[in-house]
């Protein structure tokens, strides 16, 4: 009957979203009068999950699962859900979670609601609030199936400590050859950089930066803040930056705590992809840029003067608050 959580890890270490989905699951479990069981894949420090409310860990250690495989992971999670009699399964909105959730939901005959931004409105009937219309609206969606799968939006619920003692048990799902019919050949991941999906802060550059040679200051600003770098669609279309950095409606979605847009006018397609960020800052020399209407803070000015000053001030701030 427990609430089951898919906790994501990378090279054995839990991702931040693992703690957030556990925090969410703990809230749901309390509402339902039950406890949280986490499923981990080749993770190192399983007991760490207790800090956020996990009572039981189903620990999977399997070399076949060293690289993410949506169907195999979904199969393993479905078996864990059945073993636990779980009625609610919580996961994140990472690329991997979005890949496996529909497979898992179909296997379990479960209703699936992604992009959930708050604790359930009610648990009987089970109603959750999610974003819709590219963050221009919210839907309150009832899940009426016996088993429910919930995808929690990044940074929406937050990480909450709920000190619990996590009991770790090993779990060996039985996987078939068919689970591996889609094979990973090569993973090309930018090393040593915060990803847009995991970042608390995202620094994004637009056409106002005039050329790829000027990205040094965006990277430096991101560096000072421990932020991920991103760009607008024209910038990726022009080949100034890799496609993977394109944020907006047809690019990656951003739901960071702070989004800093430099030299981005704020086309509606761009705003659709980034408006889930909590605090938005715009730096642009055109006071009429539409982004000023969507932003919380703004500086009208030349990015080439403002950004270096901002980097300097942030360095001073960090030195004082270190």
């Amino acid at each position: 009957m427990s609430v089951l959580v898919y906790t994501e890890s990378f090279k054995g270490k839990f991702k931040k979203n693992a703690f957030e989905v556990v925090s969410y699951a703990y809230k749901v479990a309390q509402d339902l009068g039950t406890s949280v069981t986490a499923v981990t894949f080749n993770a190192e420090n399983d007991a760490e999950l207790g800090t956020y409310g996990v009572s039981k860990v189903l620990k999977i250690v399997d070399d076949q699962l060293a690289t993410f495989n949506a169907k195999a992971y979904a199969d393993a999670l479905a078996q864990a859900a059945q073993a636990e009699g779980a009625k609610v399964i919580v996961l994140s909105t990472s690329a991997d979670s979005k890949y496996l959730a529909p497979i898992l939901a179909t296997k379990l005959n479960a209703g699936f609601v992604p992009n959930v931004v708050a604790a359930p409105d009610s648990t009987s009937p089970f109603v959750v609030k999610r974003t819709a219309f590219s963050n221009k609206g919210f839907a309150h969606t009832e899940i009426s199936s016996d088993i429910k799968v919930i995808g929690v939006s990044n940074n929406a619920f937050g990480v909450v400590e709920n000190n619990t003692s996590a009991n770790v048990e090993s779990f060996s799902p039985s996987l078939s050859e068919g689970d591996f019919a889609v094979k990973s050949v090569e993973v090309d991941r930018v090393a040593g950089k915060v990803t847009i999906a995991d970042a608390d802060i995202v620094v994004s550059g637009g056409r106002g930066l005039k050329g790829p040679e000027n990205w040094g200051m965006i990277e430096e600003l991101a560096d000072v803040l421990g932020a991920a770098t991103a760009c607008s669609k024209p910038v990726s279309d022009l080949g100034w930056r890799p496609h993977g950095e394109h944020v907006g409606q047809t690019g990656k979605p951003v739901a960071s705590n702070l989004y800093i847009a430099v030299g981005i006018s704020g086309a509606i397609q761009h705003l659709a992809g980034v408006s889930a960020s909590k605090v938005k800052v715009v730096i642009n020399n055109d006071p009429e840029a539409p982004f000023f209407k969507a932003a919380d803070y703004g500086i009208v000015g030349d990015a080439f003067e403002v950004v270096p000053k901002l980097i300097e001030k942030l360095k001073e701030f960090k030195a004082q608050n270190a």
Partner: protein, 248 residues
């Protein structure tokens, strides 16, 4: 190779989003509907398969008669035939069930749907469809090459990309990268004329569960005006972000 492109009929990105009937329905009044952008990348990729590898391309949508102009546009871009399942697409699982029936009846080798629609953003139909049909599945696909039944696909992951190998039959959750924005096609007059002659078959839905129901909609709280900081006083921004917004 027989390809099915699944199309969602969605409000144009610039649409004003409003709700009606006590905030229980999306207000379509004055809204222009288009092919879901994520689907259009897949449709264009399918045109390349058709032109270079001799594929047949059908399009399918689940929706009422009002979606037909959008389907006709897909035919005008070059799809050979269209299927409309005559039902309201209110739940992802229900839509996947309808499309699964279309795929079974049509014997498709490759199905491409968008990674998500830009209206309800569920992103679940491709994965559910693949699972219902026991077909291979690649989501957030940004590159696709097919040789016989062998498939090489590129998937966007958080912080990079992943190369995958698999085989037909296959379902793709597609997005920009399958083709580039500049590769998208605008229907020409000849295409529009020809589309009128092409088959648009309307089929009735099969019985299927709807495990989710949207009860009510609301809009984000109105945002206050932007707080402007003078370009000569950048330190104030750092203060505000630390003390007021508490994000650094």
């Amino acid at each position: 190779m027989k390809i099915l492109i699944c199309i969602s009929n969605v409000p144009d990105t610039t649409s004003k989003i409003n709700f009606t009937e006590g905030d229980t329905k999306f207000d379509t009044n004055g809204v222009q509907f288009v092919i879901n952008p994520n689907d259009e990348f897949g449709l264009t990729r399918a045109m390349w398969f058709k032109e270079k590898q001799g594929a047949t391309v059908h399009v399918a949508t689940v929706g009422g008669a009002q979606t037909e102009p959008t389907i006709r546009k897909a035919l005008a871009i070059g799809a050979d035939e269209a299927i409309r399942v005559n039902a309201e697409p209110t739940d992802g699982f229900y839509v996947a069930k309808q499309l699964a029936e279309v795929v079974k009846n049509g014997g498709y080798d490759l199905v491409i749907a968008g990674r998500e629609s830009i209206d309800y953003n569920g992103g679940m139909v491709p994965g559910m469809l693949a699972t219902l049909l026991d077909m291979n599945f690649v989501n957030t696909c940004i590159g696709l090459e097919i040789d016989g039944t062998n498939v090489t696909a590129m998937r966007e992951i958080d912080g990079g990309k992943e190369k995958l190998s698999t085989s037909l039959p296959l379902v793709i959750g597609g997005q920009k990268g399958l083709v580039e924005e500049s590769d998208l096609r605008i229907p020409n007059m000849r295409g529009i004329m020809m589309a009128r002659q092409k088959a648009l078959n309307v089929v009735e839905p099969v019985e299927a569960a709807k495990p989710t129901q949207d009860q009510k909609f609301d809009k984000p709280a109105a945002k206050g005006p932007v707080k402007l900081v003078d370009a000569d006083n950048v330190g104030e921004l750092v203060d505000l972000l630390h003390n007021e917004a508490k994000v650094i």
